[in-house]
């Protein structure tokens, strides 16, 4: 991605004063899986501060999920550092980490029939020891999470009977029951219809307004552009651009990164929206369907 303009580094630099207050941060992080020629993550730097919603966008295989896994201490770094609350993520004990960061992975299939309430209660796991029973504070956190994700009416349903949107909200509720300071979502709206997608992003934005830090990987550039405070555009394991949507989403850059002609428009409310173009068909060529 040599042709793509660099990230507007001035923006990250201007927040240097807040450096100590960053919730999540990758510094020059490199991840190379064994037997893989190209690094999955190549000197990637990005940061999320409290009260901020950052979206990682980019084509398939750009390293978005690997960046999340590096931040969560699951993908070991070959170089650079991954910091949570300013401390290397590898130094965190898993329960302490789960009390601070709630992460919702792309897919999840429970092996046994389990109710919504039981799944949300599992969000309290890092707050309980092996022997301690759940107490009033835990019940309160669970009830608040159910209400916040608007799934109180589902609490006795088996999760295997839920729609994709409902199941996603259950997992968000479980993440909220962890009472985290940071929320990390990997493709949270991949299988959701318009309404559920919008509801989910509204919910995440509401949480960040209350001071939570949110990092969302999304394929839905338009939704990300409207809700995220900042976009990190990744390409081939690197950060191609980092900044507010209107700076990151330029037609030239997107066309280059996605390898497809894209035009960018500004909506009436000021949001930047992209619009993939049809490839021009050569005159006389027959279109096959």
């Amino acid at each position: 991605m040599n042709g793509a303009p660099d990230a507007p580094s001035g923006l990250t630099g201007s927040r240097a004063a807040e450096r100590s207050g960053r919730s999540l941060e990758l510094r020059e992080a490199t991840v190379r899986y064994p037997r893989s020629a190209m690094p999955q993550l190549d000197r990637v730097s990005l940061a999320v501060s409290p009260g901020e919603c950052v979206a990682i966008v980019g084509p398939n295989g750009a390293g978005k999920t690997t960046a999340l896994r590096a931040l969560l201490g699951i993908a070991p770094l070959n170089a650079g550092s991954a910091l949570l609350m300013g401390r290397p993520v590898a130094e965190w004990e898993r329960p302490a980490l789960a009390r601070t960061v709630a992460a919702v992975s792309q897919r999840e299939e429970p092996a046994f029939p389990v109710t919504v309430l039981d799944v949300v209660k599992m969000g309290r796991y890092p707050h309980l020891g092996p022997w301690r029973a759940a107490g009033a504070a835990d019940d309160l956190a669970v009830q608040r999470a159910l209400a916040r994700a608007d799934i109180g009416s589902l609490s006795d349903r088996l999760v295997q009977t839920l729609s994709g949107g409902e199941w996603q909200r259950v997992r968000i509720a479980r993440a909220l029951a962890q009472e985290p300071r940071v929320l990390v979502l990997d493709e949270p709206t991949a299988s959701l219809d318009v309404r559920h997608e919008m509801e989910l992003f509204e919910l995440v934005q509401g949480l960040t307004r209350e001071g939570m830090a949110a990092l969302v990987v999304s394929h839905h550039l338009n939704a990300a552009a409207r809700f995220a405070d900042r976009l990190v555009l990744m390409s081939a394991g690197r950060v191609a651009a980092d900044g507010p949507a209107e700076q990151v989403l330029t037609a030239q850059r997107l066309s280059l990164v996605f390898g497809w002609p894209v035009s960018v428009q500004r909506m009436a409310d000021g949001a930047v929206q992209l619009y993939p173009e049809r490839k021009r068909v050569a005159p006389g060529a027959t279109r096959s369907g």
Binding site: L72, I74, R94, P95, A96, L97, A98, R99, A102, A103, V104, S105, E108, E109, P110, A111, F112, P113, V114, T115, D118, V119, M122, G123, Y125, P126, L128, P130, W131, R174, Q178
Partner: protein, 332 residues
């Protein structure tokens, strides 16, 4: 089909008491309830007392412990491989345990205390082999691959066991063949004590990990995100399940399908939470095996069927139902 907690505990307790009474009354010689209970209290006819206290009572307690150990082990393994089709028998732990135990017998170390240790070593060896086999596939620790690897490793252990039995000259090893068929008759109170002592640490480990087992049945990644140390838990579960299986096999030979059918039944009525599932599985597994043993003793009396025949009669249909359900889930 879910049942309230009070009714469930009541039913389970009633079932366990009923199973114990059945085990006490059924057998070669007819003993009425009153006399049996008097014998337990230490009164009554000495010959009746001998039958009740030295034959039937240890057999019932052993049945409870073996059935409980196998059921708890199965429940934990199912969460671990995220597959309701798993059990100590299908994952090869029983086969590994019997191999270890037979080797101990062949080397003259076949005491009630020595055999479980050797069986434990055999089970751990099989676990390691199953892990290696599953990793060869490159698909990580896919539950179905683990099951397949377990069946293969179990068959391999069975072949080695047969080989040792065939070439061995010692009468003790010949006796082991009978024990391998599975039965609760042989070991008496000494065997009960050994099994109880070896089971306790394993049960404590599993009880401590029961919340983590809930998380593991969601998947490794969600469990990790929720704060579980997945690898450490997996190691502990495998060790505890191996120890339970080994102690049970050393005491009563190979008895299949208890670990498969029992946890499934409890999940249906009480849900999959392991804090309730593990103790309930222990009680129901115990009661189930005591009843199965009573049936095995009476069906062709005075001939005695291996109790594994009865558990298989129940377990295989359950397996078929689960298989059908999981196949539907895969297609959906």
């Amino acid at each position: 089909m879910r049942v309230g907690r009070g009714a469930f505990v009541l039913g389970l307790t009633g079932g366990a008491i009923g199973a114990a009474l059945l085990g006490l009354l059924v057998g070669g010689s007819h003993i009425p309830v009153g006399e049996a209970l008097r014998a337990i209290a230490g009164h009554g006819d000495p010959s009746v007392r001998a039958i009740v206290l030295e034959l039937r009572a240890p057999r019932i307690v052993l049945g409870f412990l073996v059935g409980g150990a196998l059921a708890v082990s199965g429940a934990a393994l199912q969460a671990l491989v995220r597959n309701p089709l798993a059990d100590p028998y299908l994952l090869g732990l029983s086969g590994g345990s019997s191999l270890g135990a037979v080797i101990a017998v062949a080397f003259g170390a076949g005491s009630v205390w020595g055999m479980p240790i050797a069986a434990f070593a055999g089970a751990l060896l099989i676990v390691a082999a199953v892990y290696r086999l599953a990793l060869v596939s490159g698909g990580g620790l896919d539950g179905r691959i683990l099951l397949l690897a377990g069946v293969v490793a179990g068959a391999f252990a069975g072949a080695l066991t047969s080989g040792i039995l065939a070439v061995s000259e010692s009468a003790q090893v010949r006796a082991a063949m009978l024990w391998l068929l599975g039965g609760l008759g042989g070991v008496g109170w000494a065997g009960v004590l050994a099994l109880a002592v070896y089971s306790v640490p394993a049960l404590v480990i599993l009880a401590a990990e029961s919340r983590t087992l809930d998380l593991l049945s969601l998947g490794d990644e969600p469990a990790l995100h929720l704060g579980a140390d997945v690898n450490r838990t997996r190691r502990r579960i495998y060790i505890a399940a191996s120890l339970l299986t080994a102690a049970a096999v050393a005491a009563a030979g190979i008895i299949g399908f208890v670990g498969l059918a029992v946890p499934h039944a409890i999940r249906m009525v009480r849900g999959p939470g392991h804090r309730g599932l593990l103790p309930s599985a222990f009680v129901l597994g115990g009661a189930f095996l005591v009843v199965a043993d009573a049936i095995a003793r009476t069906l062709f009396a005075p001939m005695e069927l291996p109790v594994g025949v009865i558990t298989a009669m129940v377990g295989v249909p359950v397996f078929a139902v689960l298989l059908r359900r999981s196949a539907t889930a895969v297609r959906a």
